[in-house]
Amino acid sequence: MDASGFAPDPLIASDIAAYLAAQQAKALIRVITCGSVDDGKSTLIGRLLHDTHQIFDDQMAALTSDSQRIGTQGQAIDFALLVDGLAAEREQGITIDVAYRFFSTPRAKFIIADCPGHEQYTRNMVTGASTADAAIVLVDARKGVLTQTRRHSYLVQLLGIRHVVLAVNKMDLVGYDQAVFDAIVADYQAFAASIGLADVSAVPISGLGGDNVIAAAPAMPWYAGPPLLGLLEGLDVSDDAAAARPFRMAVQWVNRPDLDFRGFAGLVNHGRVRPGDAVRILPAGRTTTIARIVTADGDLDEAVAGQSVTLTLADDVECARGSVIAAAEAPPTVAGQFEATLVWMAEEPLLPGRSYLLKLATQTVAATIQPPKFAINVNTLEQVAAKTLELNGIGTVQLATAQPIVFEPYADSRDLGGFILIDRASDATVAAGMIHFALRRSQNIHLQAVDISRDAHAAQKGQKAKVLWLTGLSGAGKSTIANLVEKQLHLLGRHTFLLDGDNVRHGLNKDLGFTDADRIENIRRVGEVARLMTDAGLIVITAFISPFRAERAMVRAMMAPGEFMEIHVDTPLAAAEARDVKGLYKKARAGQLKNFTGIDSPYEAPDAPELRIDTTMMSAEDAAMLIVESLIG
């Protein structure tokens, strides 16, 4: 090992201006490292940082003392301690989260995402892989290609990383034996070809000893190729390909300081753009031309992929956050149904039919997911039947969005083909998705324009359409109150319709049971029916347990603003159970009724209902009167 970790480029001392100019010309290469636990990833990265002289004396001193205290290499330096940053990680001797490390060489600058190898942290690896140009796949020479190696390589391929470097590590522990290396490489190449990884190079190394990390290893004269760092420096990571594609820019923010200026701020996703270029604004579809490319440093003659700019348009067309400004002659697809690969990243599994938020570029829309066509067993890469996706599960699904979105296949565009799914209740990111293509039916079904508008329907009845959505536990009194409300409204000459849970389940929804997925579908259908009725101008009263916040939010989103009135018929579980009009609680307690809300299935009370009825304080008649009053005003 070198005496010191630090030895700067001689040009810094002799000609700092020349050194700084040279920095500007360097490529920035983003790399992820992946491999199984104990393949020596952290050690390799520590070694890269050390041998490229990125470790300062004080860090080296801390590392030396840490190595003595908590290292795993006896008296020697434990390079892994340089990157295992979190206290929890040091306690367990493993890496939990993606760590980003920086180093530069005379030829390139690197950002390395160190990705944990544990099965349960696949989501971190996907995070690291999503922005990487290249992947270092580490294999322990003693163990060869493992299940984890295959899993990580599959993810590398799935996320579309262009270059793979197979680093066969710990060669010192197999006597620097070429036969071992050749066998592992052959094994891996066969696997890589089978999943469509094209650009794979391989290098035998010892991260611990530094063999073939930055310099050739005397111990392995049989290897004639460049060391690991040389392989990385030689990668072509230019984004000429992105710049050569047709122009697209997703609008992030409308810049409107005064009435005279209206600019659209965004990062150019693909291609190049000049003032005067014809563009189409999607999804609205109007065409116009680019007037100016505005930046704080003055107007530009041209902007290319990767630049953040503000565009102004020649015409006053509809364009907002979420719009995509695209080359008029080659616009991207607009559709509402697609096939995609999903990587599920939450503890709570995918619920087909539930309304999630889908964010793609700057568009955020509601989306529902069909049960997977199949899931991928990432160990065998077989397609297996699946009804859902669990944490770290990967599968092919069909999705439908509430509004059409602008996109491109992921294979063509990370920016416009990659999306995340967000849980509406927790706001957590629950999945990453990569779009394959739009489904034909979504391009062929168009909404039929009708001549009598919903407002006309309502106006003829002399009322405003409304949904009075009663939610609460079984036995809370929803149906009783709903009936009274309808009677009173009827007497007042209003046109109403009552949708009741039990009645709907005898007809429209008789194919559905009481699992979470079926409950969601039950509410979705009721929501759609209620929406059609509001289109007809009716006041719709519904009485459904509707236990989940996400589905109530989904129905609310189906209606026009202000049309949905959430009414929480609030009864303590004990009170509802004491009433037990239908004897259902008794059955549920006896285990004869599964998935009963309040007993073995949760009820998520509304956070901010338009109205809350406390049935312990109020009779059904008073409750109905309160509802009617708040409606009529």
Partner: protein, 300 residues
């Protein structure tokens, strides 16, 4: 074919992040510490939203012990760009005699900086705060996402970080929680200095070497910035040519002896230095993993 330099790429990425957060947050703020990273942040923010004015205010957590040159620089920048500046200061603790000399540093930092940051964010209802943190600074930062979520008590939980893919940032959050956003995550110290030089970004003069009154204390060179600094027996203020690698409260900021009075020579010295940047900060001299611990308590 025109190709972007790596600094142009970093700039575009940071501007993209600034715009995403502004588009999705309800009430963002820029935490302005007046240091070099804050100066780059402010510059990028002005660029991101031009020709519109900055769509958020600046928040300065003033300990009362900032270098005078920092406050002058702050006020100059605010006047030049017509910025909205909010200043938060713990009057109560200051009146009670909490100061950087006699109060143990962790207590002082918590009372004057961390708690004040939390109080200011709560008081103004900011749901997103931009900070100038970089991943090359420290081990815990290296693992933090660009959009980092804090619970209602402003605590960071490294075990529940959201996956963060591509250029997609999920800025949605449950009520009561907030975002710390780090648009400079992928910059290195060299990138910061080079960008300051290329873009002519104004910085506090203390970053450049000049003769200044100093004392040597506990292994650090401290600048005697005003007469509140009582000299210990045997100490006399000595004029040394010094500069600072990081700026904060002057009694806690160690200077380096240097003749580098231009950006190029500062960069040259930095690249030749064998000591890391945060070494001059007393606040970082806590036990290992302290940054992670401080972040869990709500430190930026």
């Amino acid at each position: 074919m025109m190709s972007l330099t790596h600094l142009q790429r970093l700039e575009a990425e940071s501007i993209h992040i600034l715009r995403e957060v502004v588009a999705e947050a309800e009430n963002p703020v820029l935490l302005y510490s007046i240091g070099k990273d804050s100066s780059v942040m402010l510059h990028l923010a002005l660029k991101a939203f031009a020709p519109a004015p900055l769509p958020f205010p600046l928040l300065h957590i003033a300990s009362g012990w900032d270098f005078r040159a920092m406050l002058a620089h702050r006020d100059m920048m605010v006047a030049r760009h017509g910025l909205t500046l909010l200043v938060q200061h713990n009057d109560e603790a200051a009146a009670a005699g909490v100061d950087p000399f006699d109060t143990p540093t962790p207590v002082y930092t918590r009372l004057m900086l961390t708690e004040q940051l939390k109080a200011a964010l709560d008081h103004h209802g900011f749901d997103a705060a931009f900070g100038g943190g970089r991943r090359d600074e420290e081990k815990a930062r290296a693992k933090e996402r660009i959009l980092s979520f804090r619970n209602a008590a402003h605590a960071w939980d490294p075990k529940t970080q959201r996956p963060e893919l591509w250029r997609l940032y999920n800025a949605r959050k449950p009520r009561g929680t907030s975002i710390r956003a780090f648009p400079l995550s992928n910059w290195t110290e060299l990138d910061i200095w080079q960008y300051i030089a290329l873009e002519n970004i104004p910085i506090v003069p203390l970053y450049l070497a000049a003769p200044r009154p100093t004392v040597e204390r506990d292994g650090m060179i401290l600048m005697v910035d005003d007469d509140r600094m009582a000299l210990r027996p045997g100490e006399t203020a000595v004029e040394r040519s010094i500069r600072f690698r990081t700026l904060g409260c002057y009694p806690l900021s160690g200077a380096v002896e240097s003749r580098a009075d231009t950006l190029d020579t500062v960069i040259q010295e930095m690249l030749l230095s064998t000591r890391s940047e945060r070494l001059g900060r007393a606040v970082d001299h806590d036990p290992t993993a302290s940054m992670e611990k401080k972040k869990q308590e709500g430190y930026f």
